[in-house]
């Protein structure tokens, strides 16, 4: 997911060509207070008129506790982007309030309530504490995201490249998302010149269970894709597992072995997931 400042027309109009899975048009932290109105109108027009090709379009609005959040919703909800990202989500009540306003706007415009989804952004200590209820209670939330920079600030700790200060938060948020069967996207890596650091952090995020990672520069996209995409060896192995599984299931065998390693239901589920990531049909 590529962050694009909402008041930068040059970057927005090219958003669909970088190969990111999705772009996040940002009305929040990347826009100065004096330009909130300009960014809101620009993003609205760009969503209407610019072709982002296959790239999903999400919009990060301002929190409803600011003077800008409501106006953001009024302009953006009628356009029904793929998702609204809600920053600084701290409780289920925040989402109840957000959805109440979104549904009202959708009703006014004759829009369905099940098209545009919500990404709840967890970036305060309180949000981390309440994350499971936030993740599990609302069918419209299809992803949770971690805001590492704000979380670090909220915790009054210093950001370090190893992410030690937010490690517990990352793990807790991942677990809440997994238990709720929704996507979980990792925070940005702020140093665009440190490609090795980005790769290390992305590999760590993948190990923890994150399903994607936000980027702030198109240069970071390829590394993220390389890390998250299954390797050829993983795909071959998964394909073989699924093929053997089909044959064994037909023969009434639940657990079997490949090259001396036990293959049971969890291994089969992981193999199916690998093939899904690789866009390969299960044999």
């Amino acid at each position: 997911m590529l962050y694009i400042p909402g008041n930068n027309p040059a970057m927005i109009q090219q958003g669909g060509i970088y190969g990111a899975d999705s772009v996040l048009l940002d009305l929040e932290d990347s826009v100065t207070l004096s330009q909130k109105d300009a960014a809101r109108i620009l993003v609205r027009n760009m969503i209407k008129d610019i072709d982002f090709y296959e790239t999903e379009v999400c919009v990060r609005i301002n929190n409803l506790g600011t003077p800008f959040g409501l106006s953001d919703l009024e302009e953006i909800v009628p356009l029904q982007p793929s998702a609204i990202r809600y920053p600084k989500t701290e409780s289920a009540e925040d989402i109840v309030n957000l959805l109440r306003i979104i549904v009202k706007i959708e009703d006014r415009h004759g829009l369905p309530h099940n098209q545009m989804t919500i990404h709840a952004m967890i970036e305060t200590a309180m949000g981390v504490q309440n994350v499971f209820e936030i993740a599990s209670r609302f069918p419209r939330i299809d992803a949770i995201t971690v805001g590492g920079q704000d979380l670090t600030a909220d915790m009054n700790i210093i950001y370090t490249p190893d992410g030690a200060g937010i490690d517990f938060a990352r793990k807790r948020i991942v677990m809440a998302a997994k238990a709720s069967h929704i996507d979980i996207l990792d925070t940005i890596f702020p140093d665009v010149n440190d490609e090795e650091g980005l790769r290390r952090e992305t590999e760590y995020a993948k190990k923890l269970g994150f399903t994607g990672k936000a980027v702030i520069n198109p240069r970071q996209i390829d590394i993220i894709h390389e890390v998250f995409a299954p390797t050829e060896e993983e795909i071959r192995k998964a394909y073989r597992i699924m093929k053997e599984y089909k044959a064994n299931t037909a023969a009434g065998i639940g657990v079997f072995a490949i090259d001396g390693k036990m293959i049971d239901a969890p291994v089969v589920r992981r193999a199916a997931y690998v093939l899904k990531l690789a866009n390969i049909e299960i044999p």
Partner: protein, 96 residues
């Protein structure tokens, strides 16, 4: 609709345009100044977008200066709408 104060919107960045607008006395008409890096290629269409928007917002007495660095239509419209809203009493009022 009537402009109240002078205002501006946009930037001098590439692919952007900056509009400066100010109200003129009643029945003065429109005074439009366009400066663009792509004036020869797109000056006419740029002018049409501006005039159409001023018509839409019923802006009859206005001095408008645009400095364009190759903005696309949605950007031109967004920046002009922002400038107009900023120039009105209630900038958050819907004028769509």
């Amino acid at each position: 609709m009537k402009l109240i104060t002078a205002s501006q919107a946009g930037t001098f960045e590439s692919s952007d345009v900056i509009f400066l607008i100010e109200p003129l006395p009643e029945n003065s008409g429109r005074k439009i100044e366009l400066y663009s890096t792509v004036l020869h290629q797109y000056g006419l269409s740029f002018n049409k977008i501006v005039v159409d928007m001023l018509d839409q917002f019923e802006m009859t007495d206005i001095h408008l200066i645009a400095r364009d660095k190759g903005a696309l239509e949605p950007t031109i419209k967004a920046r002009l709408e922002t400038a107009i809203r900023r120039s009105m009493i209630n900038p958050e009022a819907s004028i769509a």
